[in-house]
């Protein structure tokens, strides 16, 4: 029973992390039908910048919740700038070209950012501080979930609520929905498409930065390659849930997280990826657009 509970918590945590990253993939795809392969790297850069800020702010005497929030905020702002610049440099000039061109550009940016961080920071593994302060209700959860697991799940849940409200209630959210449905019509109605696309990249990057910071605190280690595997898994989750759909990304991430966790726990860790990807094949065979995806007809 304890194993079952622990595996549930582990699946939920893993799914939450995938969800934070998968949102960036799915939102960008929803707006401009581009798979932003460099998104995993933004997550990695988020972890690195939060570490740098935590050292600087820690030296200034900040600690506890203040330090965690300040690091998260600064990393989010920094990554948002990266996401914004990335779009301007690598994708905007290629808008209107064949769909392959920005895809190749995305893979190139991913390799570039990985190597850039290796050069200016380090190719080695870095120890990550545990920035999450002790939780007040930790006693009740001891043995079931660690504080970093609680923090990850809580942060993801809050981010999802905030994002849903943003998309449903604000003018920019409305514009995003409009551009996603019909970019030409949205432009004709006076929507500034450039701003909508930039905001999408910015929002996706903010979530990735939060994910980078939290997973750094949980695993207590980062390196310049960590974005690749995490990005791949999150991308898989986004496809599983139906790429382009925000609730789909969350559901896909949770399915992936839980299936990996239970496969490793009850079968063998050799099968965690096998189970996850067999599930992906099954779902895509039955529902080619993913769980929440809407069927789109190719307009030729």
């Amino acid at each position: 029973m304890e194993l079952f509970l622990n595996l549930c918590v582990s699946g939920l945590t893993k799914g939450s992390i995938y969800a934070l990253i998968a949102l960036g993939y799915t939102m960008v795809y929803g707006i401009i039908a581009l798979i932003n392969f460099a998104h995993g790297e933004i997550y990695m850069i988020g972890a690195f910048t939060a570490l740098i800020f935590s050292m600087a702010l820690g030296a200034l005497g900040l600690s506890g919740w203040g330090l965690l929030l300040a690091c998260g905020l600064l990393a989010a702002v920094y990554c948002a700038m990266y996401g914004w610049t990335l779009e301007k440099i690598a994708y905007k000039p290629l808008r209107g070209q064949s769909r392959l061109a920005p895809l190749i550009s995305a893979i190139g940016m991913s390799i570039f950012l990985q190597n850039y961080v290796q050069l200016v920071q380090t190719p080695n593994f870095l120890a990550y501080p545990d920035l999450i302060p002790p939780l007040p209700f930790a006693g009740a959860l001891s043995g079931v979930a660690t504080k970093s697991q609680v923090a990850i799940v809580a942060a993801t849940a809050l981010s999802m609520i905030a994002l849903t409200l943003f998309i449903k209630r604000t003018r920019m959210g409305l514009a995003m929905r409009a551009v996603s449905q019909d970019p030409t019509m949205a432009r004709l109605s006076g929507v500034n498409i450039d701003r909508v696309i930039s905001s999408t990249f910015v929002i996706g990057s903010v979530f990735a930065a939060v994910g980078g910071l939290l997973i750094g605190c949980a695993t207590r280690q980062i390196d310049s390659y960590q974005g690749f595997l995490a990005g791949m898994k999150a991308f898989t989750a986004a496809v599983l849930g139906g790429i382009g759909s925000v609730p789909g990304a969350v559901i896909g991430s949770l399915i992936l997280g839980f299936s990996e966790s239970f496969a490793a726990g009850y079968v063998s860790s050799d099968y965690e990826d096998v189970v996850a990807f067999v599930l992906l094949i099954l779902i895509l065979t039955l529902r080619p657009d993913g769980i929440m995806g809407s069927a789109t007809t190719q307009k030729v």
């Binding site: 304890e2 194993l3 622990n6 595996l7 918590v9 582990s10 699946g11 945590t13 893993k14 992390i17 995938y18 290796q118 190719p123 080695n124 593994f125 870095l126 120890a127 001891s142 043995g143 660690t146 970093s148 697991q149 997973i215 949980a218 695993t219 207590r220 280690q221 390196d223 390659y225 960590q226 690749f228 595997l229 995490a230 898994k233 990996e260 966790s261 239970f262 490793a264 726990g265 063998s268 860790s269 050799d270 965690e272 990826d273």
Partner: protein
């Protein structure tokens, strides 16, 4: 635009002619190949190989070179990736290089050896997988590092000495890590009188966002000790995850874990861990001299394999010198296996399979934030 292109190409042309104009060396250099991880997550191991080799070459060249020729090192990165290793090996072999130092990791070495196909002498200083020499497939492969099975038997002796009876074997699913776990399992099963049971064998995917599922399984299995097959980075991550979950089992690793960064990254979670590792010879006069040469050129630490790599190069140079040729591989092999050479790690000779004679593993324990030698 056109003028820019024109002036650019003129500049380039000037460069080309300048570089061609430089005087040709008096005598052709002796090219030695190095294949290993210079990039990627295991670059620290490959750089450690490289630094040792560089010092050996600097010393040999200062003393007049090998066979009267200056030694030139040709480096190829394989990032410890078997696929990259075969292309690195192809690049080296296609330049006609027949003396290779490397590769860094066992998996990469295995794939590179099939490319060299018995057309080069290969001396590794960090590939510890038993199979490389036991298979008999690689007649020209030698190594200065002791083999993995020596680590496993030492680990089992430690289990017995500490009275641990339930053990989990965890590995990183790589060639090196998995083989360590298998060797440990074989060593435990070979000694049924010890009463040790293997409660769990599991792998973790290196670089995964969390190891929680495996940690939950280890907790459920209720073990006293964990034998880890893999490198320090995953091990310290795992150790922190285990302690966060309240699992107190002692972690026992091999030379991939015997790295100061295991302690710096793992902090209090890795206190009390054990590792088998190459013996520390840094205090000898030859070692101090080598370190001084290294510090003149680099500010980086020497890393785990520095002395082993330097010894590998020294043994190879001595054998080539004695053979009087760099082309007769069989003659060089005879000298490697029959002559004892004084190297930075002491007298070195290889057995017929290519394993080093005389070097062994020691046991280390993490105490007060650093590795200290432990006794059984």
């Amino acid at each position: 635009m056109r003028t820019i292109t024109l002036s650019l190409s003129l500049c380039l042309a000037a460069f080309v002619s300048l570089s061609q104009a430089s005087p040709a060396p008096a005598q052709e250099t002796l090219k030695i190949g190095f294949g290993g991880a210079l990039l990627g997550s295991l670059a620290s191991y490959g750089l450690s190989n490289l630094y040792g080799i560089e010092v050996a070459i600097a010393k040999a060249n200062a003393a007049g070179g090998v066979l009267g020729r200056q030694v030139e090192l040709v480096k190829e990165d394989d990032s410890c990736d078997p696929a990259l290793a075969s292309s690195a090996a192809t690049k080296l072999a296609s330049q006609g290089i027949r003396l290779i130092l490397g590769h860094t990791c066992s998996g990469a070495t295995h794939s590179a050896l099939s490319v060299y196909g018995g057309k080069a002498i290969v001396v590794s200083s960090s590939a510890t997988d038993v199979y490389l020499t036991d298979s008999g497939d690689n007649p020209y492969f030698f190594r200065t590092t002791p083999r993995d099975d020596a680590q496993s038997s030492l680990q089992v002796r430690l289990l017995k000495a500490k009275g641990f009876t339930r053990v989990a074997l965890l590995h990183d699913k790589g060639d090196y890590g998995k083989s360590l776990a298998e060797l440990a399992e074989a060593a435990i099963k070979a000694d049924p009188a010890s009463g040790i049971t293997v409660a769990l064998v599991e792998g973790v995917t290196s670089g995964q966002v969390s190891y929680d599922a495996v940690v939950a399984k280890v907790k459920d299995a209720g073990v006293d000790a964990i034998i880890w097959g893999g490198y320090y980075n995953d091990a310290s991550k795992l150790a922190i995850n285990l302690r966060d979950r309240g699992v107190g089992a002692v972690i026992i690793g091999a030379d991939g874990l015997y790295d100061e960064r295991y302690v710096t990254m793992g902090g209090s979670a890795v206190e009390g861990s054990f590792a088998t590792g190459q013996s520390d010879i840094s205090q000898s006069a030859a070692a101090q001299e080598a370190l001084a040469i290294h510090r003149k050129n680099h500010t980086e630490e020497t890393g785990t394999y520095f002395f082993y790599s330097m010894a590998a190069a020294e043994a190879l140079f001595a054998a080539v010198e004695k053979a009087g040729t760099a082309d007769d591989l069989d003659l060089i092999k005879t000298h490697l296996t029959s002559d004892t050479v004084d190297t930075v790690m002491g007298p070195v000779r290889f057995d017929a399979k290519g394993d080093v004679i005389g070097a062994g593993f020691k046991l280390y324990e993490v105490k007060d934030g650093k590795f200290v030698e432990a006794t059984l």
